[in-house]
């Protein structure tokens, strides 16, 4: 990898690190614009996996032999890297499978211990199902109540509504950093400050933020922050929860099992120190190590540079789509108010059909509810199409995507013929 943030952004050098970008779909080169669903993986991350399994594979923490020491060292080094990447200390970082597990961990471990009948939990209407359903499950077990802050027609969080909801003295505000449908970047720093003033804990869903922009959990000030490795160049099966250390220490464990205990007796057990207390059983060691390698890669390119590059792609996509009268765009129009994705719909073609036809040109976009049925209902659609960008996408790819929309029109007619 030869990228240097001090020179120009060398997207071709980056692309050369991603073997899958050589792939063809039928006779077309792959244009992968489904990065909000999952990202592709550079050679360096794949190599980290292979090296781990060919050289140091062992179970961690409990072994005295050389491989076990090396595996433990690699695993804990990865934890320190990932923690540093978001401005946290290693003891505050729990490895999970993904964002979803991180949020469920908080819902079960912190939620069951801290929520009581009638307590208020504040969500927003732009949350991913992963930041809704865990709270519904825990609300059913505890009797807590959920309140949803709406978003405006611009796709921005309704800040007046938020302030009103905070008067209910919620126990928790759980909010996404970046919406995976609208692209909106929420002002999580300000939301955290207000929520803290109202006495609430704050959980931020960072699944769409950490891969795409610099994130510093200390600056945000939130209590919990969740994200997924697979959306940031790392393998599937690894993610993380940051939590303020004193909360981690006070929380009862989530899952029980090996590693997370201090002493087990017939009747009860005591717990290991944080973060191990929250990591029951054999962890996903290799994928954690590879997440460390992904963080190295992202840092070498530079998160500012990545954000800047994606903004250019997003601006171009917004500009091109905005000129089409048969297309509706969702979310903020100003690229500086959003992250690198654009949701849209043909007025007369279902997004499934659009996605299918683009696939025949090698262009991978996503069509569906994007795990955000509440947003869909508000937009009064059942699904949207979404093109989402990452560090290896090019302006030419964005233009090819835009041109391919004409193929959709060829099948369905300029106005869908309906």
């Amino acid at each position: 990898m030869t990228v240097d943030i001090n020179t120009t952004y060398d997207v071709q050098a980056i692309r050369a690190d991603f073997p899958i970008l050589q792939r063809r779909i039928g006779s077309y080169p792959l244009i992968y614009l489904d990065n909000a669903a999952t990202s592709q993986k550079p050679r360096q991350v794949i190599d980290a996996l292979v090296h781990y399994y060919e050289f140091s594979n062992a179970n961690v923490h409990r072994g005295l032999h050389t491989l076990a020491e090396e595996a433990t060292e690699a695993y804990e080094t990865a934890r320190a890297k990932v923690a540093r990447f978001i401005g946290a200390e290693p003891e505050s970082l729990v490895f999970t499978r993904n964002t979803t597990e991180a949020i469920n961990l908080v819902a079960y471990a912190w939620g069951l211990a801290n929520l009581r009948e009638g307590d208020v939990v504040v969500l927003s209407e732009m949350e991913h199902h992963s930041n809704i359903v865990p709270w519904q499950l825990v609300a059913r077990l505890t009797g807590a109540k959920l309140h949803y802050v709406p978003f405006t027609s611009d796709g921005e969080l309704d800040s007046d509504a938020l302030e009103q909801t905070l008067r209910l003295e919620p126990k928790l505000v759980a909010i996404t950093h970046v919406s995976n449908v609208l692209g909106t970047v929420n002002p999580v720093e300000e939301i955290t400050r207000k929520a803290h003033e109202a006495g609430a804990r704050v959980l931020v869903d960072g699944a769409q933020a950490v891969p795409h922009k610099p994130v510093d959990v200390r600056r945000i000030g939130c209590d919990f922050y969740a994200f997924s490795g697979h959306k940031m160049l790392a393998p599937t099966g690894i993610g993380a929860l940051y939590a303020r250390r004193e909360l981690l220490e006070q929380m009862p464990p989530f899952m029980g099992g090996g590693s997370m205990i201090r002493k087990v007796t017939h009747a009860s057990s005591t717990w290991a120190d944080v973060p191990t207390k929250l990591e029951a059983g054999t962890p996903n060691i290799a994928d954690a190590v590879a997440l460390g390698a992904a963080v190295d890669y992202l840092q070498a390119v530079g998160m500012e540079a990545i954000q800047q590059h994606e903004r250019q792609l997003t601006e171009e996509a917004l500009r091109l789509l905005d000129g089409e009268e048969d297309i509706e765009i969702y979310g903020p129009r100003n690229a500086s108010r959003r992250c690198g994705l654009v949701s849209f719909n043909f007025k007369h073609v279902h997004p499934h059909d659009a996605a299918q036809i683009l696939d025949q040109r090698g262009i991978a976009i996503r069509a569906g509810h994007h795990c955000c049925q509440i947003i869909m209902r508000k937009l009064d659609v059942t699904a949207t199409a979404r093109a989402s960008f990452y560090l290896y996408n090019t302006i030419e790819e964005v233009r090819t995507f835009w041109k391919a929309l004409d193929d959709v029109r060829k099948v369905f007619g300029k106005h869908g013929g309906r």
Binding site: V349, H350, P351, H352, D353, Q356, I357, Q360, R361, A367, G368, H369, Q373, M376, V381, T382, A383, D407, K410, V411, F412, G413, G416, G417, R418
Partner: protein
């Protein structure tokens, strides 16, 4: 470039001009279906006279495949007995899932759905109206 196998003319025709679309206020029975993967929704209405289906309508939103399939269903069901409807439903389901079945005539609109079989994700779209019918018939 354009996928003729999936988007056969007859499918696009049903999509653009769906037969018997809209609510049926005096339906004898109705059922709602949903494809959780994509959010497509459908409501199916049947009006029966004794054992015979005298009116069928569908409502809802979805992709060309799910809408065309529902439109074909409303046309094909009209005038059948409930038992015949059940047999037709089983036949379409078998065609879409690759199970043994009596093939449809070349010029039967339903025959156009066979192309969907090559698109695993879209099979669920084509099936939506028919699984909703299955549930509705089971409920009787």
């Amino acid at each position: 470039m354009v996928d003729d196998e999936l988007y056969r003319e007859i499918i696009l025709e049903h999509y653009h001009h769906p037969r018997f679309k809209g609510a049926l206020p005096d339906a004898s029975m109705s059922a709602e279906g949903m494809n959780p993967l994509c959010g497509d929704e459908i409501t199916l209405y049947l009006k029966t006279d004794g054992d015979r289906i005298v009116d069928v309508r569908f409502d809802g939103r979805g992709c060309s495949i799910s809408q065309a399939s529902a439109s074909m269903l409303t046309e094909a069901l009209r005038g059948l007995t409930l038992a015949e409807a059940k047999r037709l439903q089983e036949r379409v389901k078998a065609m879409l899932t690759g199970a043994p079945h009596e093939p449809f005539d070349e010029d039967d609109d339903l025959n156009a759905l066979e192309g969907v079989r090559q698109y695993p994700v879209r099979i669920k779209c084509a099936l939506l109206a028919w699984t909703t019918l299955e549930e509705l018939l089971e409920a009787t």
